[in-house]
Amino acid sequence: MKSAVIVFPGSNCDRDAAVALEAATGRPPAMVWHGDAELPASDLIVLPGGFSYGDYLRSGAMAAHSPIMREVIKRANAGTLVLGICNGFQVLAEARLLPGVLMRNASLRFICKDVHLRVERTDTSFTGRYKKGEVVKFAIAHKDGSYFADNETLKRLEGEGRVAFRYCDPQGQIGAEANPNGSRHNIAGIYNEARTVLGLMPHPERLADPALSGTDGAKMFTGLVESLAA
């Protein structure tokens, strides 16, 4: 599996993503600078976490229009798998590859902690290694993570089964108490229509090694390798 990580000015999880990808694929991903127009052939493109362009204007707004994104959008529309983590999710939303917006957390605080997520479906390239309804532990680290979409969009997302992960308690219960940031419907991650683009605020790559106190995130990357080999 060939993967690429897009590096924006202000990305700070690009190397974490590269470590997790190399552990799963056996080879390092191509690190592609945002100003490049060329993107090597890739089975998976990762938009990493961080604070691209200092979160100026709106988180992800500038990065969504950087030169490399034209190519990323083209590949995504052609079916290449794209994974946006944290700031990467914000970029995907601003680029309109995913619906909705990530707004300021309801608490107005930057939140950095491990959270529980419920895996909503397992028949996608990203979640094949998980069990349906499985509760996993990923890390969040964001100030603009409150997922907002209008009622009509939410209805469509729910109806089409496009919610990938929801914030939940350790038992898998969804509710306001398990919602760290005010996201509508406790949404932590969503798919595009074809389920080839996934954006999520929590960081799978931060809990992808026993030394990092958890390995739930690693299954996303090994699952991707397996789905692409199948």
């Binding site: 229009h65 601003e94 300021r104 209008d150």
Partner: protein
């Protein structure tokens, strides 16, 4: 021409920052303050003398970058720079 662009949250979109500002105003004794909403103000010089063309240009700037029309409305005034 100079464009003075105001970007505001659409009605119904939660604005925790506006709420925090409202709380601070109340704490200062401004009991009359209510329904505080925070927005953005942006000035842009547009190298265009024809008002219609300048207007079309600013429209596109707002739609493509300056406002996220899922959650925000925009309005602007144009004046000779």
């Amino acid at each position: 021409m100079k464009a003075r662009i105001t970007i505001t949250l659409k009605p119904g979109v939660l604005d925790p920052q506006g709420k925090a500002i409202e709380g601070a105003l109340h704490a200062l004794g401004f009991c009359s303050a209510g329904n505080v909403r925070q927005g953005k103000y942006i000035e842009v010089d547009v190298a265009e003398k024809d008002p219609a063309r300048a207007r079309a240009e600013v429209e596109r700037m707002c739609k493509e970058l300056l406002a996220n029309t899922i959650i925000e409305n925009y309005a602007y005034e144009l004046e000779a720079a």
